[in-house]
Every structure is written in structure tokens, then in C-alpha cells.
Symmetry: D2
Subunit: 316 residues, 4 copies
């Protein structure tokens, strides 16, 4: 049963799901189901599939739709689907298919060729037209990866022009002032409310919630911690929130490295018993023995402060 469409009042944690593969490159549906159930048990308020770290470009159209549909069927929470594509034809057809399958909305990243403010707003206008007026969508604002810089004013312009735009996946860096600026626009009445969920691996989530973010949309390998952190912040338990965050920061920072981060994430999910395999489809970054040992050390140190990190070693 699909969740209802995402709205601008969404809060909490939307987990960015990696796509599990078997070592021979097939989609590992057993692990996918286990991962989905784990997210539910962790208390996430939504799941995002086929994002940047979901290896979306390595999936054929039918595989992508099947994954989205499978997750949708298994959960009560809304499922957002990444539909970024080099052209609007592919974006339109993927959006239609996943919305049919019960997705709650789609996420759209800008192509890395955009430069001017007008190019960015025009892109989202065209994209919104391509997916259709009834599909709620998420702006993915990730300059580090996409090389597209959106000022708060540009985001406001996109929101104003497109009723379907209900959420921002905020991962600008630095980004704290951007959250304050957007919430300021809401307060001064120049922009309607936008759900702001933060990405960037969670690296600034301790302060992002304090600045007004509604939560997180990221794939850190302890989504259960993210949920707890956002709840602590919502209840105003500031010290406890920072203590929890700081305990995880060494690992979180390690996982947030570009390129190798997904391998860390899959490794920890394997150690947590959620994924059967760490496999990625080619081209894949892999972890060296040294890197594995570093992650093991980080988990071991984390376990002293958070029992969730007390894990058995991987059988080899």
C-alpha cells in the first residue's frame, strides 16, 4: 500500500536507500526487502530510492521501476523516487511508471551544465511540465556533486512557479545560512512553506535541525541514529542530541567521502546483517583492506557510546 503524496509539511528522516546487488550484479531482492523492513523498524518517515547513491544510472528502466514498486508495496511511509535524467523524455516515462506504482513523489537534480539563475529556474519549469502538475517533487540542491549553485532566491523562484515543488533536499556546503534564509522567506511571507530535509551525509545535522530543517534525507548507515537525533532535536533535548551526533561523527564523516562513501555504507549494512553482499555494479569503488580496518576501528570506538554499533565481524 502506497503512502500518500509527500507534502511541504513532511518531517523526520527519509532514508536514502542503496540498491542491493548480488555479486553477479543482479538486484538482490532479499536484501532489499530486509533493508526496507529495517528502515520501517528504525522509524523513518519516508524512503528515497534511486538517488545518487542508489546507483540509479546503473539500472535499466524496468529494473528501476521494479525496485521502486517493490519498496512501495512493502511500506506504509511515502517513497520518493529519484528521476534525474539527461532528458525530459526519460524523466517523464520513469515518473509516470513509479507514480503508477504508488510512489509519493519524485526527486530531481539539476544537470551539471546549468549556470545562470534563469537557466536553473527554466530547467525546473520544464521538468515540472514533463512530469505533470500532479506529481509532487523534491529539488536536490547538491552543488558539490552537481556543480550547480542555487541561491535562496532561485529556490524561492522555483517554489513560486511550481505548485508541485514541496520539498528541498538540502545539501549545499556550507549550508546553514541557506536554511535560515529560506525559513526567513517563509516568515516574511515571500515563500510558502517548504519541507527541508538535509543530506550531505548528515555532516551538519546537529545544527541543521536547530536552523529550522525538518529532518534528514540521507543514507548514513545508522538511520536509526538519525531518527533518534531528529526526535531529540524536536523535543529540544539539545545536549543529548549533540552527544549522540558527536559519537557518530567520526564514522559519519568517513562515510561521507565522495566516491568511496557508498562502499563504506554497504560494508556497514553488511556488518549490521541487513545486506547479504557489499556488491556494487560497475563502475564501483571498493574498500581496500586498510579502509575496512579503519571502518572497523570506527565502529568499535562508536560501540563504546552507542550499542547499535556492537557488531559481529563479517564472515569471510
Amino acid at each position: 500500500m502506497p503512502g500518500s503524496p509527500i507534502t511541504s509539511s513532511a518531517r523526520g528522516v527519509f532514508a536514502i536507500a542503496p540498491t542491493p546487488f548480488t555479486p553477479d550484479g543482479a538486484v538482490d531482492t532479499t536484501s532489499l526487502d530486509r533493508l526496507t523492513d529495517f528502515y520501517t523498524a528504525s522509524g523513518v518517515t519516508g524512503i528515497t530510492v534511486l538517488g545518487q547513491l542508489g546507483e540509479a544510472p546503473k539500472l535499466a528502466h524496468d529494473e528501476a521501476v521494479a525496485i521502486a514498486a517493490r519498496v512501495v508495496r512493502r511500506v506504509q511511509v511515502p517513497v520518493v523516487v529519484g528521476v534525474s535524467a539527461p532528458g525530459f523524455a526519460a524523466m517523464r516515462s520513469l515518473t509516470a511508471a513509479v507514480m503508477d506504482a504508488g510512489a509519493a513523489g519524485v526527486m530531481i537534480a539539476p544537470p551539471n551544465t546549468l549556470r545562470t539563475d534563469d537557466q536553473i529556474t527554466a530547467y525546473y519549469r520544464n521538468a515540472a511540465q514533463a512530469i505533470g502538475p500532479d506529481v509532487p517533487f523534491v529539488i536536490q540542491d547538491y552543488p558539490l556533486t552537481f556543480s550547480v549553485v542555487m541561491t535562496p532566491k532561485v529556490i524561492r523562484a522555483i517554489v513560486a512557479e511550481n505548485p508541485g515543488c514541496v520539498m528541498l533536499k538540502h545539501e549545499d556546503w556550507p549550508g546553514l545560512e541557506k536554511i535560515s534564509a529560506l525559513r526567513g522567506f517563509e516568515r516574511d511571507g515571500s515563500m510558502r512553506r517548504l519541507s527541508i530535509l538535509c543530506g550531505n551525509g548528515g555532516l551538519f545535522l546537529d545544527f541543521e535541525t536547530e536552523r529550522g530543517a525538518d529532518g534528514a534525507m540521507t543514507g548514513y548507515c545508522f538511520p536509526d541514529m538519525l531518527v533518534e537525533l531528529v526526535e531529540l532535536a524536536a523535543r529540544g533535548e539539545r545536549e543529548a542530541a549533540h552527544d549522540l551526533f558527536d559519537a557518530h561523527l567520526p564514522l559519519l564523516r568517513y562515510e561521507q567521502q565522495p566516491g568511496v562513501g557508498l562502499a563504506v555504507r554497504k560494508y556497514v549494512f553488511a556488518r549490521r546483517g541487513i545486506l547479504d553482499h557489499e556488491a556494487q555494479r560497475a563502475p564501483a569503488a571498493t574498500l581496500s583492506a586498510a579502509a575496512r580496518a579503519e571502518v572497523d576501528l570506527l565502529l568499535e570506538r562508536l560501540a563504546r557510546r552507542d550499542g547499535r554499533a556492537r557488531l559481529s565481524p563479517l564472515a569471510r
Copy 2:
């Protein structure tokens, strides 16, 4: 009947075909057939569909395959299909479909995130593996658009590693010395022969043939002129070749503008009676009235030196 696979001995002119659309955005198969026949009548030695200027990203997978198949069925010459994609899954499935339909090979542009020599060679290694060892492919070397700079040594490395790499769509800028360097590699035995067909709108085709290029792969709106030019150059009629080229250069330069170039091309094809419509799918650059008048003037001036440019005005 499909042509045989492209090989490293390919010569002449491979026309880059625009994709004709009707004003409501459907693929205009009538115009596509007329365009295909026009290419045949122009004496091209090959046709390339779904390239950068074929609006490939605006086509759904099935549309793309249908276009390639339709052109293949109608001609005797080899048809190359652009299969550049953000991921190898889409590249693989599109390649399989068009090769099944009788394509003679595929063309692969590098994603604009590649920087180092090793990243570029790794990309083509992975791409070659994705499409399969039996599919001949063309490297598209177009730094102006893709921001990826391939030195002659990098191209040599790609050729050495991948038996399927038989052709270079050369559109580096400046690029004349690159042709000389690659032909030098062949002479000194460090690289096997590569078919080099030049793009970049033909802006340096007068000298590219003299430097050793085998011809052109570009979409200039007078492919019949390109064919004649390459033949003149091949017969050593240098003065005649330059005279012909210089007559076309003012228009050719105008058409080679990024962004607006495709609109010019479709406009002239419409004026030549080959396309029924100038329509592009969104997002589309359009010609202002001033730009149309400029193209009209260029055609009028060209017509004094080349009768092929003597065209009736478009009925409005």
C-alpha cells in the same frame, strides 16, 4: 538492409541526422524518410542518428530504437547510433536494441565529470565491456561540449585496449595538430589505423582532410557540399576544395553556433524542402526573426556561388 559494421577504413561523409518532429512533438517519420533519402542521394557513406544534435536525450528508449531501425531499413550505408548515457545499463540496452535492428556501430561520448587520463581510459574500458566486444564503436572527442580533454596519447590508449574502437569523431578545437599526431602514431607503428571523421560543424574541414582525416561526420545543412568537398580533397583538387569551402564558410560558421545551431540546421532543411517542420522538442532554442533574416541573407549570398543554395522562401 543494414550496412556492414563500420571499420577503421571508413571514409567520406557520415551525416549527423537531426530528428524531425511535428509541431506537436511527435517524431515526423515522413520527414525522416525524406531526409534519409536525401542523404543517400547526396552520396554520404554513412549516417549517424541520435547524436548530440539529434535530440537524443529528448527521446524515450522505444522512440530512439524505432528511429534507428527506420533509418537502417531504408539505406545501404552503415548507420551509427549515439548511445551516450549517464550509466552503462542504459547504454547496454540501447546498444543491444539498435545492433539487433541492424546498426553498423555506436558512438560514445564521455560524461563531463571525467578529468584525468586514467579516468577517461577506464570509462571507455567499462563502456566497451558494457556494449560487448563485437560492437564497433566511435569515440566522440568534443571538449567544447563535454569538457573532457583527451590527449592523442589517451586516444591511443583507448584504441590499444579496445578492439571495438574503430573510429574517432574528431571535434577538438583547436584540432589540426591532433590529427597529425594520431596519423604520426600510425606511421611510427604505435597505434593501429583509426578512421578519423571530423565534426565541429565542419569549421576546419578544409584543412582537416589535408592533415589526414578520412572525411567528416557532421550535420551541416549541405551534406551534399561536404561530400563534394571530401571528394575534391581526395582527388587532390585543392583549389577547388578551398573555393567550395570558403563559399559555404559564412553559413557554416553561423550554423556551428552552440545552442542555436540546430535551429538553423532545421530551418535550412525546411527551406530545402526536406523537413516539413522546424520543430524541436523542449527545451528548444528557436530562431528570432532577425536570425532567420540573417540565415536568409547567407543563403542568398551563397546561392551566387553554389546553386544548391537557391531556395524558395518558406511558405508561412
Copy 3:
């Protein structure tokens, strides 16, 4: 005697001067003087020194000031000096020195890290403050080289904010519609008049004048042709203007290649007897024997239509 400050009513041709060097890398003042006199004799209405193709970054501060001062002393026309720099301290000190020496204004290119509209306008605001309110300046809008894309609206904002901004070196590509848009802003009263001089090697100068440009600011090796062309256009002798332009286009296009273009320019200036040496300071692009022969052929062919290209070969 310095010319008076540049104003927004400037017209004609501002020649972009290359910096002449001797083979051992010293500034070649004899050639510089001869070049300056040649510009005067060619009828230019201004000279620009220390631009992108003036090898400005290869000059020490004192050398740069000395070159600017030497040219200023020798001519009656205004001299614009390129002062683009990675920081405002260097821009301020170079501006102060050359304005003291009698320069008529300065030219400022944006650093290639700027992305958003606000970043661009902020940059010019800071730059204008750094050089001081009394120094007239030229915006250099050259996205191909600087990767900074300025919309007409951004240029209008810069003009509105900075009284010193009186001229645009227009070299966007494609750029014809931009000229029309800016002149439209003037007509609708939303922007004060701006002198628009076109660069980009002159590749579209035939139509740029017709769109409303005031002339050219570029370094093509036949500035005397540019002057004649702009005058023909100003007198409405359209056919003659196009005939002259088309005759030069094959060479002009060859010279306009990035990287190697300056070597072509210096080679032709040497063949014209204006520069004693083709030398560039390191890092320098040089002409291969094949490239020299190509330029020779282009000159020979041009000479049939323009006697100014009838040149003796270089003594070797």
C-alpha cells in the same frame, strides 16, 4: 598625450594589442612602437593592452605598467588596460598605476569560479570599489574562456549599480541575441546606453554591427580590415561589408582558435613587417610547419581579394 576617458558613446575599433617579445623574452619596445603606429595608421578609435591575448599574466607589474604607459604616450586615441587579477589588491594597484600613466579606462574579466547571478554582480561591485568610482571600466563577457555566463539582465544590473561601467566587450557565443536584448533594454528605458564592442576574434562581426554593436574590440591581424568593415556597416553599405568580411573569414576563423590563435596573430604581424619576432613568453603555443603553411595559403588566397594580404615571405 593620453586620450580622454572612454565613455558609453565609444564606437569603431579598439585593437587588442599583443605584447611583442624578443626571442630571449624581453619586451620588444621597437616592435611595440611600430605596432602602435600601425594601429594609428589603421584608423582604430582605441587600443586595448594587457588583455587575455596580450600575455598579461606573464608580465611583472612594472613591465605591465611600462607597456601601458608607452602606448599611451604614443597615441591620441584612448587606451584601455586589462587589469583582471585573482585579487582586488593587484587590480587596484595596477589600475592606479595605469590611470596615472594616462589610460582611458580598464577592462575587468570575471574569475572563472563565479556561478550565480548574485556572485557576478557582487564581483563587479567589489571590483568597482577597488578601482575607485572615477575609473571607467569595461566588462569582458567571454564565457568560452572564463566559464562565467552573464545574462543580459545581469549585465543590466552591473550597469545600474556601477556608474563607471561604460562599455561591454561582448564575446558571448552565441551572442547576437544578447546584443539585441541589451539594445532593447536601452530602448525600453531600463538600462542606460552602453558602448558594445565585439570580440570573439570578430567571427560574427558581419552581423554584430547590424544588431547594434558599436564596433569591435578584438585582435585580428588585419585591424585595418576591421576598421573598414565597421565603417562600411555604419554607412549602410551592407553588401560591401559582407564581401569584405567573407573574404577574410577563412583566415579570421583560423586565427580565432583558442590557444594557437595568438601564435597565428604574431606570425601574420611578423609577415606584415610589424613585429620583428613571433616570440611568446612561456608557456607558449607555437605553430607547426604545417600550420604555417596553412596560414600562408590563407593569406595567398585572401590576397586575391584584398591587397593588404599580399605579403613577402618571412626571411628565415
Copy 4:
């Protein structure tokens, strides 16, 4: 008294010094001296001035030389000077001036226009020639800021070609495997020893030392912590090193934000009583009240684990 030239056996911590300014924009020599003395007292093994975060582009040539000379005269340890410049003329003259003043070497970052391996190695070859064979230099490898990606093989090639290249400021991200690769080159005899000091704000210093780095060259506002950390790691006190690092990570991560990071650094140095002013020259990023409060909280939390962070509030 200047220290002796830097060599490939350099170890420990080279502090990247910010440049102190007074609120009216003058160089604040009182604070500069106090900062220099603080570095000495902290046990640094070197100081780097005029780096990326030393606001070097905002300094006139004479100011830059004066700052370098002042620091050199005050310390026993080697002083490295950033001489990155858009052209070799400025690099040469700044290098000559600071080496005369007793600098121990210079640091060179690549211009952000470089793409291919050959372009990068050619750049360092030309740079080494410009500064002269007797000047030891540091490669700054910071792709996040400079957009230039150097593979380990390219670094090896630069080291092989240039005897003066003795040190790498390592700040690739991710970068741990790069350290391992370079140390591997040394072990297999394919590269001579290189001093590797890590930057990137110190964000991975816990593991970088374990991978074989010789220490840090970064500007974190607790250089005394960096010195202690590198010493703990050198003595094999792994747990203590990680404990110290983890305690600082929340603040260190906050300071490592692009753009705003320097403001954080100057603010903390002001709170530590080392700088009299937080002022930057324009263009400057400033801290909002919210950001100040965040830094204050991070310091307060840090103070529970490291007494060095127990600071009085700034008088206002």
C-alpha cells in the same frame, strides 16, 4: 634567522597562518607577531604563509613580501610561502623576493584550467623553471578548490622531473588511498621520498598519519592539538590520538566549511586572545550571530574534554 630549506624529510605540523588585518584593512602586525609566537609555543615544525586561507590574492606584492619576511625573522622553523599566481612572472618575482628574505621554500597550486595529466606535469615543469632550480617547492593538491585532479602517477612524474619538489600538501578528498599509493611508490623504488603533510582542515588526520603521512599542513584553530595528535600518532599511542581527534572533530568539521571557514578560524583565534580582530579584507565571508553561537557551543562542549578550549567570551 631563517630556517634551513625544507626537505623531503620534513615532519610534524606546518601551521597555515591566516593574515591578520585591522578593521580598516591594514595588516595587523601586532597580531601577526603574537600569532607567530603562538605557533612557536605550540611546537609547530614549520609555518606556511600566504596560502589559500591567508588571503594572499588580497595582498599587494610588497605587503606579501613584508608579511613573509616578518614571520621569517621571528622564528627558527622553516617558513613556506604560497606563490601561486595566474602567471609565471608574478610567481617568479614573489619567489625571488621571499627566498631572499629567508623563506624555506614555496608552495604552488595548479590553475583551475588544467585538465590532462600532461597539462599538469607541464605546468609544474614551467613553474619549477620560473622559480629556479634551487628553490624547494610544495605541490598543493586540493581538487575540491582547484578542480585539478592529480593521480598518484602524475605526482610521481612531477617529483621525477623536478628535483626541487620535496613536499606534497595533500588535500585530495577522498585521499587516504592516495597516501598509501605514494608510499607504495617509494617502497617499490619508483619514486624518491616525498614529505607528505595533510591539509583539508585536518578532517582525516586521524587516519592520514596511520597511512604514512608525515604530519599536517593546515590552519585549524588549535594547532597545538594538531602537534599533540601528530606526536601521539608518531609514538604509536593510537587510542589517545583518536580520543583527542574525536574530541575536536565537531569543531574541526565546522571550521573546514568552504568560504565561511576562515571566519570561524579568525573568530576562534580572537577568542583565544591571539588575534585582536576577526577582520578579513573584502570580499569577506562573515559569521552570522547564529554561526557565532554555534561555534561558542562547540567550544564549550570541547572544553569538557580539552582544557585549551576553555576560553573567555569576546568583549564586544
